[in-house]
Amino acid sequence: MKPATLGHSAAAEIFNRDENRVDWHDKTLWFIREKRDRAAYQTNDWELLRETASQIKNNVLSNLHNYLLAFEAKAIENGITVHWAADGAEHNRIVHGIIKKHGVTRMVKSKSMLTEECHLNDFLAKNGVEVIDTDLGERIVQLAQEPPSHIVLPCIHKKKEEIGELFHRHMGIPAGISDPQYLTNAARLDLREKFLTRKVALTGVNFAVAETGEFVVCTNEGNADMGAHLADVHIACMGFEKIIPERKHLGVFLRLLTRSATGQPITAYSSHFRKPRPGQEMHIVIVDNGRSAQLGRENYRNSLKCIRCGACMNTCPVYRRSGGHSYHFPVPGPIGAILSPNFDMAKNADLPFASTLCGSCTNVCPVKIDIHDQLYKWRQDIVNQGHATAAKKAGMSAMTFVLSRPKVFSYGGKIGRWAMQWLPFLTNNSLNPWYKQREMPAPPKQSFREWYQQNRKNK
């Protein structure tokens, strides 16, 4: 995995050097956003469904303590071993401990953003355990030694020719193949051998039901099930916010999740694991890793309602044109930008600024998280706590100086309009970030104030 050293705008600038590719990325994600819209419009009670999901999640947050205890008791009763991890390091040690106990050095894993957050793969590799990611998109980025760039579509940034090249090198297919059907079949054959030979399978958790102690995993490919049903040991890892109260609430979330994510009415598989199969060992690792602190932050606790559909990424004009890797956090896009400062405000101080605050993320969110309001609040907290960059601070004090002095503002505007007209090189140059990938607009002849004084004031 590459170290994350660049801030969002610097990384986005690199991403934007290839204009055709940015256009392609932008259009691909917008296409998914349109599919989401069609699915939503075809669902008569869509808005009531969102409101209901939001209220269920509000109830969950307000009663997490008891729901977790109920879930744990039921899961144990069902024959599942329950572990608790305070942070990522403890999570990784628990998972490694289970693998070591079985004397195994190879395992398969289906999609889990939590294990990305905890950097489990790196930890296990250092401890001599080979992890094969089995979701096709995750397998592709794993072979490319990159993190996923999207939580639902991990290799959305990759071209099929690049994937063909990766499979040529790692799976031995002939060079120069880029047909998705062929490539998918090559991965199917390659990964089938892994499913059949690995004794430990790890999956994520989409929903965990307090009432019954069962957990639900959603995939289109069937990879979570192929791994879990063929392994002697199934480890399921979940952030504690995945809890929902009762089984019937799954009806609400399963209707919303995939329609929001890809526009499908439901994933191909929604698997309900309640007990290990006879002879199998099943573990659940419940992880905190900063979530309990986040629960205590009134302005930001709603971000824990997230069901990881990715709709906010697909709709975000900044995400679509900057790519998931520019966010240097396992969950990119608008939701990542409000989750990440909870983990490390200094390191992720740039992310809440990677937004136009247009509010589209909030409008598509299936559980009604106030994403753009939280972005705005984070900006204030970040600046107040001294984490803004020197340039941003200087810019903001200059802005404060100008905006609080009407005469300076009016005079400055005049100079600006004159300069843009007569000395365009002052703004149309590479030192001006607003000039990147853009033409500067023609300056207006007069300001609104001047126009108002001429035309309206005395009428």
Partner: protein, 194 residues
């Protein structure tokens, strides 16, 4: 203090004031024509609906569309000449060469084409995933409108494993091109018995 106690104490301290659970009874009350909707939705998600009169119709279809000599497994009775029935105690890995797995579903869901199957039907959890093709028998009267009615039907059933299956396995991870047949079956036939 163990991590468990630490986490639970922090949650108890930080969780907001109680917020009530919403009423679900207003959701999914538009039902429409169930069989028609189910069939249309199933086609949209890549499934293949086949309306049959009886078991003989299913047998005829399988004989015609699946090559003889390949392995077929089922948990349905009455298919002895066509499919193996004595496979439930084999290790799941030995199902790797199964061409077609045939099961019945408790019910189907019109809004998304999903079929609900549980471990007692599947005999082996791996079976509907490891087979190259999957076929499921659904009685036309066992179609519900929405997921809310689906969970009403499931109620407090104490299955060890249950799954909603909606179409064949699929992926669009490579440039958003839809490919049928990712890791699970490359096709799903649903025999709707009228």
């Amino acid at each position: 203090m163990s991590s468990r106690e630490k986490i639970l104490a922090a949650i108890a301290k930080n969780q907001p004031n109680p917020s009530p659970l919403p009423d679900l009874s207003l959701l999914g009350n538009d039902s429409g024509e169930l069989l028609e909707t189910y069939t249309a939705t199933l086609k949209n998600i890549g499934g293949n609906p086949i309306v049959v009169e009886n078991l003989a119709g299913i047998k005829d279809y399988i004989k015609e569309h699946f090559p003889a000599g390949k392995r077929i497994i089922t948990s349905l009775s009455g298919f002895d000449t066509l499919a193996e029935s004595n496979w439930q105690h084999q290790p799941p890995h030995e199902l790797e060469n199964v061409d077609l797995a045939l099961f019945w579903a408790h019910f189907g869901v019109a809004e998304n084409g999903a079929l609900w199957l549980t471990e007692d039907i599947l005999l082996q959890r791996a079976a509907p995933f490891i087979a190259q093709y999957l076929a499921v028998v659904l009685r036309a009267e066992d179609i519900v409108a929405h997921m809310h009615q689906a969970y009403e039907r499931i109620g407090s059933d104490s299955y060890g494993y249950g799954v909603f299956i909606a179409g064949p396995s699929k992926t669009a991870d490579i440039e958003q091109s839809l490919v049928i047949g990712a890791h699970g079956p490359k096709g799903l036939t649903v025999f709707i018995v009228k």
